[in-house]
């Protein structure tokens, strides 16, 4: 193929070169794969090793026996409650956030709102705000409203960072849907809202799914606010429960790894199913702007 460009190079040399480059490719691929996966592998492996295989200066690559009884222990230590709390908070945040963001994202994509330009900029700018800037006043407001120590308080607080991001992503999606569609629907007699509700929303399905996933993951992983707002053990979400657990069991590495595994595996499985939507959502949100 490259013969016309480099007449001097012999075919044998070209093959050798290509072979070397493909060897390098595989080597790089293996290194990257190990970097990505080894910590996970090690986490799961540690969680099923007997203690004598864990507390040893020379690592044990395959456990002398498999110990699974840490898992029921971890579940007993409150993880079912944490899981329930995390599910409630993530679901609540996602639902509320999506309703707000879909309406606003649509309006920002379609209507000539006063100050629209600034609104859009402002929404983008909120991504700059470190959570810690919001934390102290929200803490006081929630306290005065009696919402500290309730999952509702956390859901409301999460809307602060979920809404702008999802508005942004959804606006990108709405922009990519031709406006003719609504016009056609309106000519057919739909109201404006009806056109949005029945024609555009279904078309924006992938976008809504993508932002739902974003919202869900952000709420699922959030740590700082959950740590600050909720103190009672029965209200903790998974990240805080896990951090607390690692403090309690600071030397029981196996149990900590078992707890981490329990926390991680559902997310990983979920991710494997939805990642495509996630990247396209990201690209759409980032590029259309």
């Amino acid at each position: 193929m490259s013969a016309p460009a480099r007449p001097m190079m012999s075919t044998a040399a070209a093959i050798r070169r290509r072979r070397r480059s493909s060897l390098l490719t595989y080597l790089a691929a293996i290194l990257v794969g190990l970097f990505a996966v080894f910590p996970l592998f090690w986490m799961v492996l540690t969680s099923v090793k007997p203690n004598s295989d864990i507390i040893t200066p020379e690592p044990v690559w395959w456990p002398s026996e498999f110990v699974f009884d840490r898992y029921p222990g971890v579940l007993d230590a409150g993880f079912t409650t944490y899981l329930r709390n995390s599910l409630l908070v993530a679901a609540g945040t996602t639902l509320l956030g999506l309703v707000v963001a879909t309406l606003a994202g649509y309006a920002l994509a379609r209507f000539q709102l006063p100050l629209r330009r600034y609104l859009v900029l402002l929404i983008l700018a909120t991504q700059l705000f470190p959570l810690i800037v919001l934390l102290i006043p929200l803490f006081v407001v929630m306290r005065n409203l009696g919402l500290l120590g309730s999952l509702w308080g956390l859901i409301i607080a999460y809307l602060a960072f979920i809404t702008p991001l999802t508005i942004w992503i959804l606006r990108g999606f709405f922009l990519s849907i031709p406006a003719d569609l609504e016009e056609a629907a309106q000519i057919d007699g739909c109201t404006r809202f009806g056109a949005m509700w029945r024609v555009i929303l279904p078309l924006a399905g992938p976008g809504i799914a993508a932002s739902a996933i974003f919202a869900w993951i952000a709420a699922w992983n959030e740590f700082l606010m959950a740590l600050t707002f909720l103190k009672a053990d029965e209200l903790r979400t998974l990240p805080v429960g896990l951090a607390q657990f690692s403090g309690l069991e600071q030397t029981d590495h196996g149990a900590i790894m078992a707890a981490s595994t329990l926390f991680t595996i559902p997310v990983v499985i979920f991710f494997l199913f939805v990642h495509r939507r996630l990247t396209t959502g990201m690209v759409a949100g980032a590029v259309k702007g």
């Binding site: 490719t25 595989y26 691929a29 990257v32 794969g33 990505a36 910590p39 996970l40 090690w42 864990i54 690592p59 707000v100 309406l103 606003a104 309006a107 920002l108 209507f111 700059l128 705000f129 470190p130 959570l131 810690i132 800037v133 919001l134 102290i136 006043p137 929200l138 006081v140 407001v141 306290r143 602060a160 809404t163 629907a185 057919d188 007699g189 109201t191 404006r192 809202f193 009806g194 992983n221 740590f223 600050t228 998974l238 990240p239 896990l242 951090a243 590495h253 790894m257 981490s260 926390f263 991680t264 990983v268 979920f270 991710f271 494997l272 990642h275 990247t279 396209t280 980032a286 590029v287």
Partner: protein
């Protein structure tokens, strides 16, 4: 679509009132409807978002800015009684060596993480763009670190970097770095920051790679092929042809990474708790600590505001860069 006309109309226009009668009223109804559709509806649609953003972001930011000029503490925060102390908190933040170090660390550590994330991310994206067996598998594997909650990821890496029983020290010392046998990564602020950086990069490079990969695949093969025929080496093709085409995407990713990496909290909380001796604190962590564990909400607010200002400056710089770039073109 035409079958839905009557229902759509009836449902949507109940405020236009009454059964359809003569054409004049219908026209009037339509003009009300137009006004509703074009004036009121958009505002109604945006209103909830304005309330959420105004109430949950706008108010708190202004409130934090205000608190940063006061001596708010546990009691005064709730009673509302606090005294105005002017710039005292900011003076404290800039003169106290620990706090000043946290400010510098935020910037340097944040930048290092952005650079590291981008380098690893670009390299992996280029790798994934090559044709080799197992490419799809690698694409999925690379995704995993992103999926793992920060707290869990930090715990796993803390265990890997454990001085006595950590697998990393064993690997390194068997590779010949015998001085690393039992080496304590968390004793020294530089190595401790290195560990935190590794965890941050490990979790943020997948996004960069996957977005860039999507971008790479939009580059027509003719372009790179042409460069190849012109005799450009693989490295030259990447540097001179591919990366410039991805520039807009790269800039967006850099902005996103900056915003994320300057705000790191979870990883530090789990990995070092700011230690040794408060040497691995960055602003998000220090602000939390001063406010919530030392009950000095005024100082905590001031530190939070400083972080905010740093982020604004960084972003403005990027925006400037992007604009200059566009003007040159």
């Amino acid at each position: 679509m035409s079958t839905t006309v009557p229902t759509g109309r009836r449902q949507g226009t109940d405020r236009a009132a009454g059964p359809p009668a003569e054409s004049r009223r219908a026209r009037l109804g339509r003009s009300y409807r137009n006004m509703f559709d074009n004036r009121l509806l958009p505002i109604l649609l945006v209103a909830p978002a304005i309330v959420v953003i105004g109430g949950l972001i706008g108010y708190p930011v202004i409130r934090t800015a205000w608190l940063s000029f006061t001596d708010a503490d546990l009691g005064s925060l709730i009673s509302g009684e606090m005294s105005w102390v002017g710039l005292d908190n900011y003076v404290d933040a800039l003169s106290d060596p620990t706090l000043r170090r946290a400010i510098v660390a935020t910037i340097l550590f944040g930048l290092s993480c952005v650079v590291g994330t981008m380098l690893v991310g670009i390299a992996v994206a280029l790798l994934l763009n090559r044709a080799f067996r197992g490419r799809t598998l690698l694409g999925v594997l690379v995704l995993l670190p992103w999926a793992i909650p920060h707290v869990a990821a930090s715990l796993v890496w803390r265990w890997i970097f454990n001085d006595q029983y950590g697998v990393l020290n064993w690997m390194l010392s068997s590779l010949g770095f015998s001085s690393l046998d039992g080496y304590s990564w968390f004793n020294n602020w530089l190595t401790a920051f290195t560990v935190i950086g590794v965890v941050v990069i490990w979790q943020s490079f997948p996004l960069v790679s996957l977005v860039l990969l999507a971008g790479l695949q939009t580059i027509p093969t003719e372009v790179t092929e042409a460069a190849r025929i012109d005799g450009a080496s693989a490295w030259q093709r990447t540097r001179l042809v591919v990366l410039p085409m991805l520039k807009p995407l790269l800039l967006v990713l850099i902005v996103i990474s900056t915003i994320w990496d300057f705000k790191i909290f979870d990883q530090i909380y789990v990995l070092t708790d700011g230690g040794p001796a408060r040497r691995t604190e960055v602003l998000a962590y220090t602000a939390y600590r001063e406010a919530f564990t030392q009950s000095d909400y005024g100082l905590g607010s001031a530190l939070a505001m400083i972080l905010f200002v740093i982020l604004i400056i960084a972003t403005l710089l990027y925006v400037r860069l992007i604009r200059d770039e566009e003007e040159v073109r």
